[in-house]
């Protein structure tokens, strides 16, 4: 889906370039994102840099500057520095935290810049011109519906959740709503902090505690890696499904290979930053209206469509 979009965007771009100068003035899009400190943010950095490169090549009149920051405080300084040096026509930001970034982003907005917010919303939604996010509730819900369907509405589940945050709560809520009304039973649910090592230990403990488990859901793929290793070690064969979420390439590879235990995946794609940068660029080069809210679905990734979500060069 994304890929066709880019092709479309590029085609559109070349048509526009062929037409006599739409605007000669060079536009600057600043992109502020968290530094790569785990798989998902590493994916964000990869896709942001890829988008910057592609857009600069396609539209010589648009400059894209990508800046990564390791913390909320550093991100505040980074966007102040970005705007101090030059005039920014647009800011694409994936905020570290909503509260701390709201005022600094408002200051950029007040200079007349177009503001695109990605993933985590600011405290004041009126600041953003465009909001692009994934759907965490759907990540849980899509997975739950798959299990209800495949287990014929009956079975014992164990769940591993991440770090106590809104993201985690939404995924769990989506999952619980998804299994509501069926006879699927969550035997246990514990935090493993989106960490493979903690997930490995927790899964060992689940296996020791429960003699019969039909399916495991780890609400993130990092944890799923630990879960799979613990199941392999135990030699237990009754576990029909071990599923994750997010779209890590190692797991998408399993889906492509037709893995029995992990046949599907649900995306919360870091490539959403790319969607946001492309749409922001469209505002300048195509005069295409993009103001609004875009919520990317978390559709079921199966063997049939997995290639669309597979980025072999990305770290995630």
């Amino acid at each position: 889906m994304f890929r066709t979009k880019w092709v479309a965007a590029l085609a559109l771009g070349s048509v526009l370039l062929a037409t006599p100068a739409l605007t000669q003035e060079k536009k600057t899009i600043a992109v502020s994102i968290p530094a790569a400190d785990h798989g998902w943010t590493a994916g964000v950095v990869y896709h942001a840099n890829a988008a910057a490169k592609e857009i600069k090549a396609a539209f010589p009149d648009v400059d894209v500057i990508v800046k990564t920051s390791p913390s909320a405080a550093a991100q505040v300084s980074a966007i102040e520095d970005l705007s101090a040096g030059r005039k920014i026509d647009a800011l694409v930001i994936l905020p570290h935290s909503s509260e701390e970034l709201t005022t600094p982003v408002k200051a950029i907005k007040d200079t007349g810049a177009f503001v695109t917010v990605v993933d985590r919303g600011l405290s004041d939604a009126s600041i953003q011109d465009l909001y692009v996010a994934g759907d965490n509730i759907a990540v849980g819900h899509t997975t739950a519906r798959f299990l209800v369907d495949k287990l014929a509405g009956k079975g014992n589940l164990v769940v591993l959740r991440g770090i106590p945050t809104v993201i985690d709560d939404e995924r769990i809520k989506g999952f619980q709503d998804g299994i509501a009304g069926s006879d699927l039973k969550i035997l246990d649910i514990q935090y493993a902090n989106w960490n493979s090592d903690e997930a490995f230990k927790l899964m060992q403990d689940y296996l020791a505690k429960y003699p019969h488990i039909d399916a495991v859901w780890a609400n993130d793929d990092d944890m799923l890696l630990g879960v799979l290793e613990a199941i392999k070690q135990s030699g237990r064969t009754e576990i029909k499904y071990a599923l994750g979420g997010n779209g890590m390439k190692e797991i998408v590879e399993k889906v492509i290979a037709g893995d029995k235990v992990t046949p599907i995946e649900t995306p919360y794609p870091p490539s959403m930053i790319k969607t946001a940068i492309y749409m922001t660029a469209a505002q300048f080069v195509g005069q295409a209206p993009v103001r609004g809210t875009v919520k990317l679905d978390a559709p079921l990734i199966t063997q049939a469509n997995a290639k669309e979500y597979y980025f072999p060069d990305s770290p995630f």
Binding site: V45, N195, D197, F200, D222, P315
Partner: protein, 330 residues
């Protein structure tokens, strides 16, 4: 009874007396096992105990090294990051060598990771002793450096081990020797070697003397710089040994590998009866401390008492109770 902390274990302990300070962590461990069994009989199943003790191996091995650093009056906050960094270095070098060496790349990798660990420890030691920077600050600095290096090496993602090495290396975590899981065997070997060094060699006594009273040690002609630096080098070597056991488990290093291990390590050392202010170290107590920490986490999952939101609070309470049992058994 002789006041051991004051003179730093220079005298030989009387063999016929039970040393309650040494026994403390084991009493706490026994109490925990009993409580665990009452809560869920599954807790004492051979399988569960083997799993839990095996996975406490990393913390136990690193904590044995930390016992040297802490008893010599130092502190090392960088061990978790260092573990992640040397794990990354090991996997990258094994992957690079796999094409030429085949599975012997694992042996080469083990050599390289030991070298990397010793060098990292040496850097910490030299900054603390020659640079004369407070250990807390110096190792807080290197903690950030090692963490950033692993993030850089992995581009923020993960560094997986080459598929051709995966199965050959797997037994180092999942295999067993005479029925005992390999990481437990390695921990025991490390602890035996460490207690020999700490209790039976000149270096071990100097280590305790420096930790007990730096000035007195210096006036007695001990090179404080040398003793402390060696303690950090031992710590680095222990981190590398832990990495050797860690790599085959999940087969990857990531920026979140070893996160907060330093706190677990320090907790294990203190539960084991070694005072944070330095002086006498308790190697076997430290090992028991590491197992206690892992057992508590395991017990939290196996019991149904605690809501998932309160697990960390209950763990904190149990750690404090374990410390109190130790104190009272003195």
């Amino acid at each position: 009874m002789t006041d051991m902390t004051a003179i730093g274990s220079i005298q030989h302990e009387p063999q016929f007396k039970i040393n309650w300070v040494d026994a403390g962590p084991f009493i706490a461990l026994a109490a925990l096992l009993l409580v665990g069994f009452l809560v869920n009989p599954e807790f004492l199943s051979a399988n569960n105990i083997a799993n839990v003790v095996t996975r406490s191996a990393f913390i136990a091995i690193i904590a044995v090294g930390a016992t040297f650093v802490i008893s010599s009056g130092g502190l090392d906050l960088s061990v978790g990051s260092m573990a992640a960094f040397v794990t990354g270095v090991m996997i990258l070098s094994m992957n690079a060598l796999a094409a030429n060496l085949g599975t012997s790349a694992i042996i080469a990798g083990i050599g390289i990771v030991m070298l990397a660990g010793v060098l990292c420890g040496l850097v910490n030691g030299v900054i603390v002793t020659v640079g004369k920077i407070e250990p807390f600050i110096a190792t807080l600095g290197t903690m950030g450096i090692f963490r950033a290096l692993i993030t850089y090496l992995s581009d923020g993602g993960s560094i997986p081990i080459d598929r051709s090495l995966r199965d050959a290396y797997r037994p180092v975590y999942f295999g067993s020797l005479l029925g005992v899981p390999v990481p437990i065997v390695i921990s025991i070997v490390v602890a035996v070697a460490a207690s020999f060094i700490l209790y039976k060699t000149k270096y071990g006594r100097r280590c305790a003397a420096v930790g007990a009273n730096e000035d007195v040690a210096r006036y007695s002609g001990i090179s404080v710089t040398k003793v402390r630096t060696i303690a950090y080098v031992i710590q680095g070597a222990c981190v590398a040994i832990a990495a050797i056991c860690y790599v085959p488990r999940l087969g990857a290093a990531t920026p979140t590998t070893g996160l907060l291990w330093e706190l677990q390590v320090i907790t294990a050392v203190v539960i084991g009866g070694t005072a944070l202010r330095g002086g006498k170290g308790h190697i076997w107590g430290t090992v028991a401390g590491a197992v206690i920490l892992e057992l508590i986490a395991n017990l939290m999952v196996l019991s149904d008492f605690v809501s998932e939101y309160l697990v960390a609070a209950v763990q904190g309470v149990i750690i404090i109770i374990a410390m109190l049992i130790q104190r009272l058994s003195r």
